[in-house]
């Protein structure tokens, strides 16, 4: 579905992405790595928010690199950005109306409210009057309502309480059944390995290695080497 090949991003002298190649198919792919390894830059480059220096990005075989962000979004890539970036001036309901594709799409506003009853309760509240978990649900709903072919999520578990993280894992695990691709960028090893079957590890702007999620979950040595954490060490 999504194929990234030899993607480079430079900011002046800084070479942030140094030839990233990956592909996402029907099954979710997680990209994990420590802070400053270029994960957020990768998300931004795919969504068109960051200009690439070299490399190609294709969605369903068609080149999307170089397109304006709104055109990439319309081709079917939705972004749940780091920090959630909900709109302070819009109510919950307005966020959903802004991106809704009508009542015949797979994801409708009604379905979002059924899936996240908490959002239905807070439909009149502004985007900043929500808790971190509610904001994350809103950011995810905003992406789902675009009925995309692929969702990119940039550290969705960041700053959430453990019980909310569990809830999030449940939501993310349900996504692939919709035929929607998922590229999940995480620092939280548990979220990555429970949601995705395949995990790519990013080190200084490159994909250092990729392995089945189950293998990584049990490989303490790889975790220590690539992530500098012990198992579940996201606290």
């Amino acid at each position: 579905m999504l194929a990234v090949s030899d993607l480079h991003v430079r900011f002046g002298q800084a070479h942030i992405l140094q030839g990233v190649s990956l592909s996402v198919g029907e099954r979710p792919l997680a990209v994990i790595g420590r802070n400053g390894m270029g994960k957020t830059t990768l998300c931004g480059a795919i969504a068109g928010l960051i200009r690439r220096s070299e490399g190609a990005i294709t969605l369903g075989g068609e080149r999307i690199d170089g397109l304006a962000p709104f055109r990439i979004a319309r081709r079917g890539i939705a972004l749940v950005p780091q920090g959630r970036r909900t709109f302070p001036s819009l109510s919950v309901h307005e966020h959903l109306r802004l991106v809704s594709r009508g009542s015949r799409a797979r994801w409708t506003i009604e379905r979002v409210y059924e899936t996240f009853p908490r959002l239905a309760e807070r439909r009149r509240n502004g985007g900043t009057e929500l808790s971190g978990g509610e904001q994350q649900m809103l950011a995810i709903s905003r992406a789902l309502l675009m009925n995309p072919r692929l969702v990119i999520m940039d550290e969705p578990s960041e700053g959430l309480a453990p019980v909310i993280v569990d809830q999030l894992i449940g939501v993310l695990r349900a996504l692939p059944t919709e035929g929607m691709g998922l590229l999940l960028v995480e620092q939280n090893l548990r979220v990555a390995t429970e949601v995705a079957e395949e995990v790519a590890i990013m080190v200084t702007g490159r994909i250092a290695t990729s392995m089945p999620a189950r293998a990584l979950a049990e490989d303490k040595e790889a975790q220590r080497r690539f992530l500098g954490v012990s198992a579940g060490g996201h606290h």
Binding site: L49, A68, F70, A73, P81, F87, S89, L98, V99
Partner: protein, 291 residues
């Protein structure tokens, strides 16, 4: 007592005109962060193009001469605004200083072209009979009807803008764009097109002000600078990008100008800038502006 009421009413009618013109300026700044130094030029374009349509019709005694002039002026300003955003400013999104300089350049070119084309003689629209003449107002007595219409138009603009921003899809896009343009684009919204629409709308409001203003007072070269300055002062006092703030700023400045002229005519101009300096010192983001 009558005199005081008249002065207040004069101030409010002036405030109405200032609000119509400055609301467009504020709208454009709010979404696009463009300080449009050619905003006054849009006032001139609307006035002169509108007058070119108005004059021959008026000579033929057509009852719709003023309305046609109004429509032509608004359309001309909206078109000029949309073209300015599409051709010049869209390419330098986010580069505020460059955009300010480009729009100053545009304002100089427009002023010279209008002078070359229409000459330097002042013109003035004549309001249609239905809104000409005078109306009895309590405390004040007979008062020019057109000035009361001016207040009505300003109220309609304020309510209309509020409805647009809070009740329509375009309004949601504009508010979301003020918050986070990049994210709005990532939601699949054609942000450049929204930008052009907002620029056209802001320019149309300025054009509305241009024809209304040139009916209440003469249209001449130099009005562009005057209305740019007033728009700047009004939105600095009221708060950049806030429509309610623009209304508050317009009322304050309109009243201050009229009171100043009545109480100390020689120094009345100073009062406007005293208010601006005081607001900047105590509340730099403007009275209703977001910090």
């Amino acid at each position: 007592m009558d005199l005081a009421a008249t002065i207040v009413l004069n101030g409010l009618t002036l405030a109405a005109l200032y609000f119509i013109v400055a609301s467009g300026f504020s709208l454009v700044f709010g979404l696009m962060r463009v300080v449009n130094m050619a905003h006054g030029s849009l006032y001139l374009i609307a006035g002169y193009v509108g007058y070119a349509v108005f004059e021959p019709l008026y000579d033929q005694d057509a009852w719709y001469a003023w309305h046609a002039g109004l429509a032509a002026g608004i359309l001309a300003a909206a078109l000029a605004g949309a073209l300015m955003q599409k051709i010049l400013l869209g390419w330098m999104q986010g580069q505020e200083l460059r955009q300010a300089l480009v729009t100053i350049g545009v304002s100089i070119i427009v002023a010279d072209q209008i002078l070359a084309f229409y000459g330097g003689n002042p013109r003035q629209f004549f309001a249609p009979d239905s809104i000409f003449g005078s109306t009895q107002v309590p405390l004040v007595g007979g008062y020019p009807t057109f000035r009361l219409v001016q207040i009505g138009v300003a109220l309609a603009v304020g309510v209309g803008l509020w409805l647009l921003l809070n009740r329509t899809r375009l309004g949601m896009m504009i508010r979301a764009g003020v918050d986070d343009r990049e994210m709005l684009g990532a939601c699949g919204i054609n942000v450049p097109l929204v930008g052009i629409a907002v620029f056209a709308l802001g320019a149309a409001l300025c054009g509305l002000g241009g024809v209304i203003g040139s009916t209440a007072q003469p249209l001449a070269m130099g009005q562009d600078g005057r209305f740019l300055l007033i728009s700047l002062v009004v939105v600095i006092v009221g708060g950049m990008g806030s429509i309610a703030g623009t209304a508050v700023g317009a009322v304050l400045i309109g009243l201050a100008e009229q009171l100043g002229q009545a109480l100390f005519p020689t120094y009345s101009v100073v009062l406007t800038f005293v208010i601006m300096a005081a607001v900047l010192a105590m509340r730099p983001q403007g009275i209703l502006g977001r910090a």
